[in-house]
Symmetry: none
Subunit: 419 residues, 2 copies
């Protein structure tokens, strides 16, 4: 019989949007990693009737119920007693829990209050799932042999430690964890998700590994996943498909998993012993920020100029005044002069210049919002690229896309030009 886990997050604060439900995401990742099927997540408020209905429904379709939240000392923390009530189990006092709470409180010069008493009451037959850092312990409970229930506090830090230190080892000793799911995410730039999906259409029908497209922040991705008993056997299934995709997509695939355009560009520069400087107008420092977000970037990134005003383009980058007047600050020639200028000022191997109209104001008939020029200057000369970024998603989007296009241009150039 195929079994599955189900996540039930308890707390009116979640329904009110006061708290972002990062616990559900964490559990999603963890269950996927452990290869435990998981088809439903439910959020329910601090209401015993609705909590009971959620339990009843979950019991019908899942064999492992994971609760987060509702374990605190206040009257609206109802998870434990509602579970006991639903399964008609008496609550049993565990004095060792209160002793543990008193010990922890003493470290912060606090004393337990009478409201903590109820945290020591667990359904008969439940094991304590210890909380190493907070007051609320959870439970591991089999109300009947075919059902496993975990409860965790809602505080993410406490929940994460309890999950990793107790729940995962427990599950690994059971037949819940046999094979795990291993994934590789391929990342693309310069190709929209729908075109990518069309290019690799036959692969999207595979069942092992599965290949699924998705997109975020203008970046298309393909996730290749398989269920396996070890990473090694997983990669034997994943790698041939990855190679096939890389073959089909060529340079549009820029990296995998945690790699970013800036980390890839950084690696290439580092391998070649080359350096980079940037001149930014409409992005105002965003490209430099992305590049320096990579720890260790000081080995290849020298710095740059934020040439927001034309005076800065002239004085710090030696952009030609006549060209600025004739072609305007947003032009191919100015992007090239910015790139060449910052390269020469900072004596770097490569220089990037970005000038464009981020909007929402400042667009004209011939130079609409979203028009961006990227200048790229290197050992073999200086060139520029024109982009029309959709202005619909706003100023931040235009700026973010501009820095990505700039990094991608340099990446393609580095891969094309042998050092």
């Amino acid at each position: 019989m195929s079994r599955s886990a189900e996540v039930i997050c308890v707390g009116t604060e979640l329904l009110l949007g006061e708290v972002l439900n990062s616990n559900a995401q964490f559990l999603g990742q963890e269950l996927a990693r452990l290869g435990i099927a998981h088809f439903h997540q439910t959020v329910v408020g601090d209401n015993p009737t609705r909590i009971k209905r959620a339990i009843a429904l979950a019991c019908q379709r899942s064999q492992l119920l994971i609760f987060t939240g509702g374990l605190g000392p206040t009257p609206d923390d109802l998870t434990t007693e509602t579970l006991a009530d639903f399964f008609q189990a008496p609550l049993v006092n565990h004095p060792e829990i209160l002793e543990d709470i008193a010990r922890k409180f003493a470290q912060g010069n606090r004393e337990p209050s009478p409201s903590n008493d109820k945290q020591a009451l667990l359904p008969e037959g439940a094991q304590v799932l210890p909380n190493p850092i907070g007051s609320a312990p959870g439970i591991i409970w089999h109300p009947h042999p075919e059902l496993t229930i975990f409860t965790f506090p809602g505080v993410p830090k406490e929940f994460h430690r309890m999950w990793q230190e107790t729940a995962v080892p427990y599950l690994q000793l059971t037949d819940w964890v046999t094979a795990q799911i291993y994934s590789r995410v391929l990342r693309f730039w310069g190709i929209p998700e729908s075109t990518l999906a069309d290019q690799v259409a036959p692969l999207l029908a595979l069942t092992n590994p599965t290949v699924a497209p998705y997109a975020s922040k203008g970046q298309a991705r393909l996730r290749i996943s398989t269920r396996a008993t070890s990473q090694e056997t997983a990669y034997q299934v994943i790698t041939p498909i990855e190679q096939q995709i890389r073959q089909i997509c060529g340079l549009n695939c820029f990296g995998a998993d945690d790699e970013t355009l800036e980390s890839i560009v950084g690696n290439l520069l580092q391998q070649r012993g080359e350096t980079l400087a940037v001149a930014e107008s409409c992005t105002g420092g965003g490209l430099g920020q992305r590049l320096t977000g990579v720890s260790g970037s000081s080995t290849y990134f020298l710095g740059g100029v934020i040439s927001y005003a034309n005076s800065a383009k002239r004085d710090l980058l030696k952009v030609n005044t006549a060209d600025l007047e004739q072609y305007g600050a947003v032009s191919a020639i100015v992007a090239e002069q910015m790139a060449a200028g910052v390269r020469s000022q900072l004596r770097s191997t490569w220089g990037i210049g970005i000038t464009g109209i981020a909007g929402p104001e400042g667009g004209t008939e011939t130079k609409p919002v979203g028009l961006v020029y990227i200048g790229l200057s290197g050992p073999q000369g200086t060139q520029s690229f024109e982009y029309q970024i959709s202005p619909l998603r706003g100023r931040d989007w235009v700026r973010q896309m501009s820095t990505s296009h700039a990094l991608d241009r340099l990446r393609r150039q580095l891969l094309a030009e042998q050092p």
Copy 2:
């Protein structure tokens, strides 16, 4: 009869934890604000059987079903067709949707692919809920008179705009919305949440309006809320309390609602007709990016220098080589010379310099990770400020806090010095 809304988020990527479900939080906040009861949130994967079961369950207990996700062009986007199937409504082609997609794609020099076709198919009787920025429209649909269904794409930016621009006005015309909750958020810098809560302690006990403290990204906030039938009556309750808080907290309160440190600094500079230039080392352009994130910033922000390498500090900012050697790049004197240097290079009224150790590498006994110097140079001279930012939250945190401290220093200086 009391009615309620229910949120159903569709997407295997949510169950796998690949995406944080911020849409559920957004809807929680919005429904609370609009005074719409909301007791259940469900996450379900891209599986028609399970989506149908979720619909069936939701119909039994809620009268307004809000779906997010599953409206994209790929085969695993199933929300629309599954809803149509469940309510046995035929799908009807809306050619105007494809035309709209083609128009939007053209602005980014793209063309729709055949996979976009299905985004034009909506259940018979459903109204188009237009998507102003992305390809996927949603629907407003009454499969029967007592049930309202909204669908939205999962992309938060698109969803938020569609919600605000179409769904909320639609709901306000119905009896779903009577009184709303109105809030004003006061924003603070330079004071921790706990100290702030102590300072305004008596106000936290108020019942109308309520005053609640919270904190995010190092910024303490106070939310003043009241339930009212119009914004005008709400502000009659909120404004006196706001004034009281501003009186108590003085300069630590920097703004309200959508205001940011960079927008406030921008307003002050604009009012005074003054200009700013920045010199950034450890923040690598992040301060410039924040300043230029404000539309219209070109009237007061001239630009700056990203002086990541020491050579850039020397060549572009005229930082003294002997001082760099004697005191190190992370020192008060270098921060001051960076601020004064960029101010003189760009001939601005004000100059800011930031130098520090963002980590995780690079810290020493005497200069640990998180040590940051802010230089501030203006008409009345140049000074510097030392900060020790906690390194525990990582490199991005140190960099983010550094730019906030820099903006706050300039803000306080502008408010202290009459022009």
